[in-house]
């Protein structure tokens, strides 16, 4: 697991450097993600130790945003005041997004919606 973690941290570092010096509007970790994706595409299968780290992160990704999301307590008055706007926007947006994505797929796929 450790070699995989080191590997991933190095790509994160590379991403941060590129973000800082070349592409300031893209977050460093996203650049690290793209660089690692390019590396995997060139060098073939995912090393086992890296897969272990990645699977652990994906399974408990939610844990990592608990500290930031708890900050919602600072926004409660604001959210209460605009509750309807927030609820309607989130509801409609997710329904529309699923629908538009699905319809575009159906219309543009050569076989329509066949399996």
């Amino acid at each position: 697991m450790i070699p995989g973690l080191v590997h991933i941290l190095l790509w994160q570092g590379a991403g941060e450097l590129v973000s800082h010096f070349i592409l300031p509007h893209i977050p460093g970790p996203v650049i690290g993600l793209v660089l690692l994706l390019g590396f995997l595409a060139l060098r073939g299968p995912v090393p086992d130790s890296m897969a272990l780290v990645s699977d652990a992160f994906s399974q408990h990704l939610g844990l990592l945003f608990v500290p930031a999301a708890t900050g919602v307590i600072l926004f409660l008055p604001q959210l209460r005041q605009h509750a309807w706007a927030v609820v309607l926007a989130l509801f409609s947006s997710v329904i529309l997004t699923i629908a538009v994505t699905a319809v575009v797929l159906k219309v543009t796929s050569p076989g329509g919606d066949s399996e």
Binding site: G15, V30, L36, L40, G62, L64, A69, I73, Q78, T101
Partner: protein, 243 residues
């Protein structure tokens, strides 16, 4: 007389170190996760939402300011970047699914991504929400770790973005079935991809529990949407109203 001192001292010591915040965060998440597994992964029993409520109540009871809590919990928060980089692995595994379907998938991704931004921003703006809320709507369909990074760079609240992203994921995971059935969508790969574009990680775990092919395509959609969002949202930000 001195007997009561140790407890007080321990308390002062603990609340000054990151340990208390870390114990609180991990225990709350663990409770949320156990409840989620017990509910057979029902999206409504979301571990993050449960953990946030538990931590918030505890902070209230302990009379601990949020900034103090975050000082300790930032060690968990820091790993978001590392977790983002490691998303390359599921994307890489899903890439084979692109074969022969590149054009429909990319068109659907762009159309879905634009819909998610403009519908959420448009509706919340039109209903009079303030700038912090409208700004946090911009990247809420992107997977939370990336969405928060994007929001931070653009000067929107990462906290509200994370909250809207989680709520979007929960809603998407619950509602997708009805929307997709209503549209008569049959192919699992198309159903999965639509869920992944709209409802990122939470939608993806729902898709995996329904059908493996739906899960693979949902995971691919979530990863591609993450990359596209990080690259395109900063460019679009200039065209989004109110800013």
């Amino acid at each position: 007389m001195n007997k009561s001192l140790p407890i007080h001292e321990i308390w002062v010591y603990l609340s000054g170190s990151p340990l208390l915040a870390l114990i609180l965060t991990l225990t709350a998440y663990q409770i949320g996760y156990v409840l989620y597994m017990r509910s057979q992964r029902n999206p409504i029993v979301n571990p993050v939402a449960i953990a946030v409520v538990i931590v918030a109540v505890c902070l209230q009871l302990l009379d601990m300011p949020y900034t103090k809590y975050f000082e300790g919990a930032q060690f968990v928060h820091f790993l978001l970047g590392t977790a983002t980089v490691s998303l390359a692995i599921p994307i890489y595994r899903g890439l084979s699914g692109l074969k022969g379907r590149v054009i429909p998938l990319l068109l659907a991704l762009v159309a879905g991504g634009l819909t998610s931004i403009f519908s959420a921003v448009g509706i919340s703006y039109w209903l009079g929400a303030d700038q912090a809320i409208v700004g946090a709507m911009v990247s809420k369909s992107v997977t939370a770790p990336i969405a928060m990074g994007v929001a931070e760079r653009l000067g929107y609240s990462p906290t509200l973005t994370a909250v809207f992203a989680v709520v979007t994921g929960i809603l998407g995971a619950i509602l997708a079935r009805f929307v997709l059935d209503g549209l008569g969508m049959k192919a699992w790969w198309q159903r999965g991809f639509a869920i992944g574009v709209a409802a990122h990680g939470i939608g993806t775990s729902r898709a995996f529990s329904v059908h493996p092919e739906a899960g693979t395509y949902s995971s691919l959609a979530m990863g591609l949407h993450g990359i596209l969002g990080a690259v395109a949202i900063p460019m679009l930000a200039g065209y989004i109203p109110t800013f």
